[in-house]
Symmetry: C2
Subunit: 324 residues, 2 copies
């Protein structure tokens, strides 16, 4: 809070460069200038102007939103809402070339998150983990909302103590100024007893209470098998995965493994998972963010078992969900 010399504009650090980038991006995307014009107006070379514009893009200063109800997507969302017990459902177009891509889903999810974050009343917003969720966070604008609490549903430590890459809360803290509560816990405890001990720690207990009262929850959905996030990221071994599959496991949300009707698998990893218990709230939104052929079965289980009551996915995945 000391004096700052923002007038000078000569303290050529990252900030003033991003500032220029924002200006260039503004002139390009909002005012519709050509990069040549921008170069002249900002007094730099055309190439530099180009660099500034592309910097504005890569730094996600420019956010593009598409605002048209694409009939096919609306229709699919409608059908999904009819078929499954869903409060809300959003379907975004797929890129036919990379139908499993989370491009687009991230934007849609971010826009939904933003809606909640913009609310004036204090809210507790809970987050799972995963690639899609993490990509969504990256799409959030910087916001100031001290009234909210952002809480993690699960730890991000490997059993050896190293941190997983997909912890969304930390990322989120960079962008959104709200109270945030990362879960200082491994994904799996080494024994039921250890899990109990961990959960009874004062701060962890607090966070679990917060999570239970979450006003809105965003989670990813993990599949089983060779491509399972749990396996790929090294949280469960090949043998454990095989045992889970043999026990009828079909998917996983915040590392809680469930079967084809969304019923939790007894024993195995579920005895050790340290994540907050799954809350099946009928009224508070619990929104799954997921897409891809591989996740269809897992998503079906979560929907049937009402583990989630909201869904953000893409066209192709929506079609596959309805085809079953």
């Amino acid at each position: 809070m000391t004096g700052r010399d923002s007038m000078a504009g000569k303290n050529d650090n990252d900030v003033s460069r991003l500032d220029e980038a924002a200006r260039a991006g503004w002139l390009y995307y909002v005012a519709g200038n050509t990069q040549d014009e921008i170069a002249r107006k900002l007094g730099v070379s055309r190439q530099s102007a180009q660099r500034l514009v592309s910097l504005a893009v890569t730094e996600r200063l420019v956010k593009v939103r598409l605002d048209h109800p694409i009939a096919r997507c609306m229709e699919l969302a409608q059908k999904l809402r009819e078929r499954f017990p869903l409060q809300s459902c959003e379907v975004v177009p797929s890129d036919p070339a990379t139908p499993a891509s989370i491009v687009g889903i991230a934007q849609a999810a971010a826009s939904e998150m933003e809606r909640h974050l913009k609310s004036q009343e204090p809210k507790i917003i809970a987050f799972g983990t995963g690639r899609a969720l993490r990509a969504s966070i990256d799409q959030l604008p910087t916001m100031d909302c001290p009234q909210h609490k952002v809480v993690s549903l699960l730890g991000n430590m490997m059993s050896d103590g190293s941190a997983s890459a997909y912890n969304v809360i930390i990322r989120m803290a960079d962008r959104v100024n709200a109270r945030h509560y990362p879960m200082p816990l491994p994904v799996f405890a080494r024994s039921k007893r250890e899990r109990e001990l961990l959960h009874n720690q004062e701060p962890v207990h607090n966070i679990l209470e917060l999570a239970k009262d979450a006003d809105v929850t965003f989670v990813g959905v993990g599949n089983m098998g060779e491509t399972a996030p749990l396996f790929v990221d090294g949280f469960v071994s090949r043998d454990e995965m095989a045992a889970l599959t043999a026990a009828g496991a079909i998917g996983e949300i915040t590392s809680w493994v469930y079967g084809r009707d969304g019923d939790l698998i007894e024993g195995l990893t579920n005895d050790l998972v340290a994540s907050a218990p799954l809350a099946r709230s009928p009224d508070k939104p619990i929104i799954a963010i997921a897409a891809g052929e591989a996740k269809v079965d897992a998503m079906l289980g979560a929907l049937r078992g009402r583990i989630v009551n909201g869904l953000i996915t893409n066209e192709l995945t929506a079609e596959r969900l309805l085809a079953r």
Copy 2:
């Protein structure tokens, strides 16, 4: 809800064309495809793909938002807040080539409107008229918010009964599904007596009551003289304008003409203006949307007189306001 052959994509009416445009725009801006790839994916020629993308832009399906606090603008906004009695103030960059342009202001204003429209509690939102306001409405996404009421602060009829081009409420009704109340009134009555009669009509009376209770108000600011909107659009004659200027008039908001300290001019057009009375609320936001060298004096008057307590303008105008 009958069977539809949406896969075929051959029911070629306007809707499906915009749909295609949205899809193309999505693939281009969100998924980052080249127009060539889009052409192949949608099965059209590259030129058609280009047309679809540019259609998506001209139809305002793609909305670009810039999300970086440009230091200079923040600083100007801060200073304006310090100098004038403003609750809120936003300054957007100017395009150095066309500093009077409302490009950018419209986007910022739209985003502010959207913020209010997204609120869950029912709100009454009041609107004046003007080019900037109208351009802002065009930047709004389509929204569904039946909980709100959108009310016009003034009529849009010329004295001969023809409609002015800048009625924002009608435009708004296209985009935002809320209850809307256009004011079925001319801008000026022909006598004080007629004004009284008009205002006592049941529907008009209702709307005036709504306007009085507005939770948030957006207005434009008009200057006096040869370029005055009131004169250019033919609501007042050259002679009347001269009389106003002679009486010390400096600006106008919803056709209420005021002097350099924001005090209403006695008599003249103010005896006849049929707009809702100006409410000087200390707590409910009344936001002026205006920019341009010509409007600086008018804006200063409105600020001094606390006719507005919020401001959205651009860099250049902000500088001029502070220079006085």
